[in-house]
Symmetry: D3
């Protein structure tokens, strides 16, 4: 059985992620969407919540599993019996990081392949940080995330009050 | 009347910003330089100070207004009756962010146009973070910012003592 | 005597750094590897430790000196009687930063030349942040750093316990 | 009256071009789509045909004029009383060329502004050379060009016989 | 049976190509290396010769087939019963073209997936045009191509006499 | 004696070239500006004329020599007793080609170093092809090339008549 791991933070899952996971099922018999479990600054949802949002998002796709992991990615890939890391390429600037990841992971574990799928142009502008920023400012993210994620975002920011976004990509601090 | 909004953090305004704002007056009857008002880490000047420095910088240009704003950029653009967001493109790596901003903003508000002007090559290397870094280390930024901004930077760092720059772009941590 | 300064954070030194420093000795009679001394967030080793690791790494190369510095880079370059800043170019995304550094430094000190050497493709994927991430997760970095740096990393993370990496480049937060 | 010139080869016009021309009418009272008239290798349609296809494509937009020009672009812009050059930015790699064009044109004529609009993501993959390649191989370009351009392409390649595409972007010679 | 098509010009096949084809066999039950058959300018070897050189290069890999094709790539992929196009990503600048190819091909045939594998860093600098240039000038390409391709190149240039390379990438005309 | 070779086509030499050659004399005791002698399509001036224009341009710099060469660049570098290839980096998109050149040349001759200097931002937009295009259309290139090169261009295009530019970078065929 060909297994592939699709790793990420998924904070939260968006339509771009879901598109990549589904398309990966054509290449792999099982696709494990692996949520990195460590706490990072600027994380909105707990790892349990991120896993739950993902599970609901891919509920109709039995060959997609959702799991959480820590430690070195290549160790996790081996541990679950997969041979490939799946990555969605979004835009140019992704590539340098993907390239570095791919080469470093290959050095750490030469048997593990990195497979890149190009994000659909409909989803090219979506990233989790953009979703968080727009949602935190009350903007409409219904074209970026499934309805249940949209609800989770609204609940989160309603509960949190008006603390502002963790990033300001849509204005750009780098001026 | 054609109105355009030129948004940013402007911490502080530099010659590259001023050049873009003035050139934008050829396309728009009124250019609103809109200072993002939220507190962010690594911000040097308060929003009031940033607005004041900008107002002095464009005092000779009656069709350039300075304002502050919060919330979603496209909401602000609509609220002031503008139809366009003005952005200065500086270098390659700017483009990916600008592209994502432009597409996301268009999804959020299809009526709002994003207009890019290419920064003059004289100002190609100037960013607010470079200005802050050089000024914090006692370097001469008189070729990057107007005299009144230079004075404000000197006062700021004299009062602050030697706390070091918030970024070290000129050395590069990414080694 | 032609002197060049090779500045950086070197947290920690890796094979890519050593390769650039050695190759620079063909262009310069003396190469000063200059460790930026300020505390930055996410720094693993103290400046003294970083200098010591570098000194051991280049012990066989008498024309390479190791030093620490603070303040503006161009001021340091002048102070040690050098006329050039040496930089290793790794990948595309390096270039924009290097370009901005070079132009800004030239404005600050027109007499100082910036010399770029292209990193060997064997080392193209190595950065100090990747080394820190892999080492913090117990991965094998022996192909990236000399044995004495590998030992220092192991000691550091053994003492520190399991606090996790400061970056997660190999998973990518930017999803 | 604010006039802008949107220059290009338009061989043939596609939906990306039309989108940019229409959006430019929000910034300019008159947009002159200016077809470069010189013969170039790999040109499919004569300048007269390219102008005619454009005229039909923008027939519903009275403030968009179509014209042909030769010589230096900035001379043409001045001659028609315009003050700006309009360009559509498509993808990353466009930017370097656009940047060089913008700076060179500004040196030749400092009064002329270059205004960039970011291509809609629906049209991000369309270029005239892709249209020519797909059409020459009998592929369906109806999502890329208006019906009358599609017909002109079919007639052209029917008359021409099977001579093959002038480019093979979809396979890539650069392997 | 999962079939993938790895298309290209392969003029001539080099180690980077062979590496991608072999790695693709982990994802696909059959990998069809598909040589574009049309004559192009600057082509060194006939399509028959390119196919023969490839067949010898992958002779030990029974699941890799070599074939030639013309016409639209997606039509060929469907015709052989494959569902994916395999591409090797080499360096940054590849990506824009790959991205455009992927999106255009998806528009032409939404069922066909584009799968990207990142070229091993050992082969990152190799392209067929570099091979042709170095070989045409008598340089040693034995680290870039298998021995039988090296021999074919030597025979070709011995027979041809000293006509010079079709490209001068190693000097760069773009100065 | 440290010798470096600065190779190129120099058709014609422009201020960006001269700036790099002069700055390279700080790193090398002798800088050999090496003009590639083969005929290429789109070449304006003969190799003898290109050498003569260069010699006049650097006449005041006795440590800069001008020469012509053919064959493999690394063979020429060894033959003249140099150990380094000098390259000027202009903009982002230069880098991929430079990177490929550097790695390929290092494979062909590991002893030869590639040294990159970043082009002054004043000259960032100048390339020989832009000079040829603007001059062929009667545009003013006096800010791009020395007076004697300007005269040679005018004579060339006066004699040639109005044959049009070999490239149309300032309009862009890639629309």
């Amino acid at each position: 059985m060909r297994k592939g791991v699709y790793p990420g933070t998924f904070d939260p899952v968006h339509y771009g992620h879901i598109d990549i996971a589904i398309r990966a099922t054509r290449l792999f018999d099982e696709v494990i969407v692996a949520v990195y479990e460590r706490s990072q600054k600027n994380i909105l949802f707990s790892v349990e919540k991120r896993v739950a949002l993902l599970e609901e998002a891919v509920a109709d796709h039995p060959r997609i599993k959702v799991a959480q992991f820590g430690g070195l990615l290549v160790d996790y890939v081996k541990q679950v019996g997969a041979f490939a890391i799946i990555r969605g390429l979004r835009v140019f600037s992704d590539f340098e990081l993907e390239f570095r990841m791919a080469i470093t992971n290959r050095r750490l574990a030469p048997d593990i392949e990195v497979v890149n799928l190009i994000t659909d142009e409909k989803h090219i502008h979506i990233s989790s940080s953009t979703v968080r920023e727009v949602a935190s400012l009350g903007g409409n993210v219904s074209s970026m995330v499934p309805p249940h994620v949209n609800r989770a975002l609204k609940e989160h920011f309603a509960r949190l009050g008006d603390d502002g976004p963790d990033s300001v990509d849509l204005i750009s601090l780098r001026d």
